[in-house]
């Protein structure tokens, strides 16, 4: 082992003797003198007390003095390598507290995802407003990366996002404890990084994988890119925010897929086993699951395969690089890493004591160089405390106000690459927008949820967290694929063929953490004493409509139209219809007159909820459909003259 420079400085007179002790009398080694926890860090300026240590050793070698008894090497734990001195009790306890915290916050997160949906209550009276009982978007509100993005794009901090400042404050005291103790996505990766590589990634390969690598810079470049995108008007970084990914992939992928699998399996059992007992058990378990984890009907999400595929891919990456997501890609981790430099709590190392056993590296989560001989990377550390627990030689100490000599606090970045990635983030927005999906050729099927702000402001705020899609009771909101352009990927759009916007429902605005969908009241949405909120307008395709072109009564659309008076009105007509069978002697079929009600839309009353499109019996391509035109939030995407106002900001 390379003796530390500060040791060499102080030896002076005893230089030869100390070298002698070091070589011939291997034990007792100074850090095994029983003064566990009180050993000064060797790279501390106060380490000139080394001669004292040397004199303390001397009697122990020469005579069995009381001090010698005290310092007699004692292997405390035979199962531990090295000296066997266990880590401080405090730290061992804290590691268990951390594990508990991870399980708790992951469980709470899942609970919130499962509760993101209205289930009703027998206790509520009919005039109780329909709201969720829990703040299910709490994790997103305390996400500083989301807070920073929306601050840069809108120059405001939206309502509950103020909580994210608290998370930042926590980081500035304890470092990236969010990553190691709280983040549900991080916990998921912690778990998979533990079980995936258990066979292949052991020993030396694990140690190599857990050393700090330059690829860990990627997350900083991504973060700067996304923050510059936000400055240029798009919160596109939400695609990479871990909390957003967790809600999106669990809420839109894992839960519906689990429900599908369960329902199919139970239906398969039901169809083969005609036992009343089996069916009763199946019914009860499905009742339980649909009232706790999922909903009473199957939810489907537009192109959600990609969301699930990316989740599986990033989880599987743990097999090759443990916590690949957290170390390499996570922009939230990078953002917290920037602020971790101010942390009051941190690591101190006593390099001289390190025996290069690498046990700290085996257990390291952040790949933050906990081992001796190199500097600790504070910005990469998840504060999991595994290294100190693993260290058999008392090298690693976590404490308040540690000396910073053996730590690097700032992210290790290449300035040019950082600038280039920031520039790329900034440039991405104009490039995405000249690709004709926003200012011109706006897609008619990009129908935003009720209460959504104008499209440009919407893109400044929407972080694609999928809370609105998960909460929608009718499965109406879906992650866009490329309908809203590359910039609008996974932003919410309403697909009325799958579900319509429930007339009196305002839950999507309630869960939106950034105000992309405002928290509107029922009164505002229904238009009581004010114009209602429109999200689009319905149109008829007469060629496919039963009363219009097939002489068949229908008007389910009119029945479901929720406005009062109804936006769909019917025209009573007597229309000729050809008989089904040919007349006698090969004559053409006779004509008859049927009474029909032919539906029309009043665009000034239509709110674009899509109930008509949802219930239209023309199965594949409905005879009535909604498009985004006429939406309240836009002053340009309009039909009627009365709604056009160029004086207002677009």
């Amino acid at each position: 082992m390379e003796p530390h420079s500060s040791v060499r400085l102080d030896i002076g007179l005893d230089r030869v003797e100390s070298g002698h002790v070091h070589h011939e009398h291997v034990e007792p080694i100074p850090w095994k003198t029983g003064r566990v926890g009180a050993v000064d860090a060797i790279d501390r300026d106060t380490s000139w007390v080394a001669p004292v240590t040397a004199s303390a050793i001397a009697p122990s070698v020469t005579s069995p003095s009381p001090i010698g008894k005290l310092t007699k090497p004692k292997k405390q734990d035979p199962t531990r390598p090295g000296s066997g001195i266990p880590a401080r009790f405090r730290i061992r306890t804290l590691v268990w507290v951390r594990r508990f915290s991870q399980v708790f916050f992951f469980g709470l997160f899942c609970y919130f995802v499962f509760q993101t949906g209205f289930r009703g209550s027998f206790a509520a009276s009919s005039d109780t407003p329909v709201r969720l009982p829990y703040p299910v978007e709490a994790y997103l509100l305390s996400d500083p990366f989301v807070g920073a993005m929306t601050l840069l794009s809108t120059h405001t901090v939206y309502r509950g996002l103020l909580w994210s400042v608290g998370m930042l404050a926590l980081t500035m005291v304890f470092g990236r404890v969010f990553c190691g103790w709280i983040c549900p996505f991080g916990t998921l990766h912690h778990f998979f990084a533990w079980i995936w590589p258990s066979r292949v990634g052991r020993g030396g390969s694990r140690v190599e994988a857990n050393k700090t690598h330059t690829y860990q810079r990627v997350k900083y470049y991504l973060m700067y890119g996304f923050l510059l995108s936000a400055v240029f008007g798009s919160a596109i970084g939400g695609m990479f925010d871990p909390i957003c990914i967790a809600v999106r992939s669990i809420g839109l992928g894992v839960v519906p897929a689990a429900q599908y699998l369960t329902n199919r399996s139970v239906a398969e059992i039901d169809s083969h086993v005609s036992s009343r007992g089996v069916q009763s058990v199946a019914d009860h378990s499905q009742d339980f699951l649909s009232s706790t984890i999922w909903q009473s009907h199957q939810f489907y999400f537009h192109q959600t395969w990609l969301i699930l595929f990316l989740l599986v891919a990033v989880l599987f990456a743990n097999r090759f690089i443990p916590r690949f997501w957290c170390r390499v890609l996570c922009p939230l981790g990078a953002f917290l890493g920037v602020f971790a430099r101010f942390a009051l709590f941190g690591m101190e190392k006593d390099h001289a004591k390190c025996t290069d056993c690498n046990l700290c590296l085996v257990n390291c989560q952040g790949a933050d160089s906990p081992q001796g001989g190199v500097k600790w990377r504070q910005d990469e550390c998840h504060m999991c405390l595994n290294c100190e627990t693993a260290c058999p030689e008392d090298v690693i100490k976590f404490r308040f106000l540690p000396n910073r000599k053996s730590a690097i606090s700032k992210p290790d970045l290449q300035r040019r690459t950082a600038l280039a990635s920031a520039a790329a983030g900034a440039l991405f927005i104009p490039v995405a927008r000249v690709a004709d999906s926003l200012d011109v050729n706006y897609h008619s099927k990009v129908i935003r949820p009720p209460g959504a702000v104008e499209e440009r402001a919407f893109l400044e705020r929407c972080i694609r967290c999928a809370e609105c899609m998960k909460v929608c009771p009718n499965n109406a909101l879906h992650p866009a694929f490329f309908e809203a352009g590359v910039e609008g990927m996974w932003t919410p759009i309403l697909i009325a063929r799958i579900g319509y916007c429930e007339h009196s429902c305002v839950l999507c605005g309630q869960v939106c953490p950034t105000g992309a969908i405002q928290k509107i009241s029922e009164k505002e949405k229904l238009g009581i004493g004010q114009p209602p909120i429109k999200i689009g307008t319905a149109f008829y395709d007469h060629g496919r409509c039963l009363p219009w072109s097939m002489g068949t009564p229908c008007i389910v659309c009119e029945e479901f139209c929720p406005t009062s008076p109804k936006a769909i009105w019917v025209e009573e007509v007597d229309a000729p219809v050809r008989d089904k069978v040919p007349g006698p002697n090969g004559e053409p079929p006779a004509m008859k007159i049927v009474h029909l009600q032919r539906p029309h839309v009043d665009p000034s009353l239509c709110i674009g909820c899509g109930a008509c499109e949802k219930v239209c019996p023309v199965q594949d391509q409905p005879a009535v459909y909604i498009t985004s035109v006429g939406e309240t939030r836009s002053k340009t995407n309009v039909i009627l003259l009365e709604n056009t106002s160029y004086n207002q900001k677009t």
């Binding site: 509520a124 009473s296 009771p473 009062s564 239209c616 019996p617």
Partner: protein
């Protein structure tokens, strides 16, 4: 061994072709009527309970109206026996509040639940297959709370509660059926009387739309025959039509209080066709304008000439 292999091969062999056997097996009918409902001639077969607001503007309670109507028919214990599992099927179709009269009045449902339990029912189940989001319909209609408070078990529609049944009607062949509504000893239909833009007036018979799953929107192409087919499939023990507040126009969903009118009436009958034929007069309709009544009458499900029944107005 060879024989066994041949047997396995035979049973797993797919000979191809498009012929899919459908609609095989006997027609399934759910008949919960009492065999001897007409035995006691003192009891009415159609009872109409009307209330008026008194001098202070106080209206009679829904429970009072239901109790009065049933008293004329020999009280609830004439229909519900000790230990019965009773299904109460209100109309919980829409996300509307009681004041909009698009769903059955929650107090009427609560009263029926209470009376059925008092008559000795082991369990009372309240369920319906809603049109709008069921959680919202059940809560905002007030029926969830009212039924629960009166001791009923409330079941919301969920996919796993549906099984395909053979209705074998003229237009309805095989459809998924909400099994909660048919697994019962007694079924009490508690619809609300209201205007319907396509069928003109709906109450008891149309209420059976709620037992169907699948895409019900196709039924409207032949709504009258569909209603008759459903009434052929479901024969309730008792029908109690809620007309305490009635949607006069813009049915079936309404949404405007101005479209409703307070009638403070409850119509009870053992004959669902007669109940509808009488109740339609409350919104100024006539049985001759409602083809589904004629179809049901011709099929012998009941009589559209309600005057021919023992009728009591109380």
């Amino acid at each position: 061994m060879l024989a066994g292999a041949a047997l396995v091969a035979r049973s797993a062999w797919d000979k191809g072709g498009l012929g899919v056997a459908t609609g095989q097996g006997a027609r399934q009918v759910r008949d919960y009527r009492l065999a001897d409902s007409t035995k006691d001639l003192a009891n009415a077969e159609l009872a109409i309970a009307r209330g008026v607001r008194d001098g202070d503007g106080k209206a009679p309670s829904a429970e009072e109206l239901v109790t009065r109507a049933l008293a004329a028919m020999g009280t609830m214990s004439a229909f519900v026996s000790q230990g019965d599992v009773v299904v109460v099927k209100p109309n919980i179709g829409w996300d509307r509040m009681p004041i909009h009269a698009a769903n059955t009045n929650p107090d009427v449902v609560g009263a029926v639940v209470k009376l059925a339990l008092a008559a000795g029912a082991k369990k009372v189940v309240v369920a319906d297959g809603s049109c709008n989001d069921p959680n919202r319909c059940f809560q905002r209609s007030g029926i969830w709370k009212s039924a629960y408070d009166n001791g009923a078990e409330v079941v919301l529609p969920a996919e796993h509660h549906y099984r395909t049944m053979r209705l074998q009607g003229d237009v309805l062949d095989e459809w998924p059926v909400f099994t909660t509504l048919v697994n019962a000893d007694k079924v009490i239909n508690v619809p609300v009387a209201k205007h319907h833009n396509l069928a003109k007036f709906t109450a008891a018979m149309k209420n059976w739309y709620g037992v169907l799953g699948g895409r019900r929107n196709r039924l409207h192409q032949n709504i009258d025959t569909s209603i008759a087919d459903l009434a052929t499939f479901m024969r309730p023990t008792l029908t109690i039509i809620d007309a305490t507040r009635v949607l006069m126009r813009n049915g079936p969903q309404g949404g405007n209080i101005d479209d409703t009118r307070e009638l403070l009436t409850v119509v009870a009958s053992v004959d669902q066709v007669a109940a509808d034929a009488y109740a339609c007069t409350l919104i100024g309709q006539h049985r001759d304008n409602l083809p589904y009544l004629k179809t049901a009458h011709d099929r012998g499900i009941g009589t559209m000439y309600w005057e021919n029944l023992r009728t009591k107005e109380v």
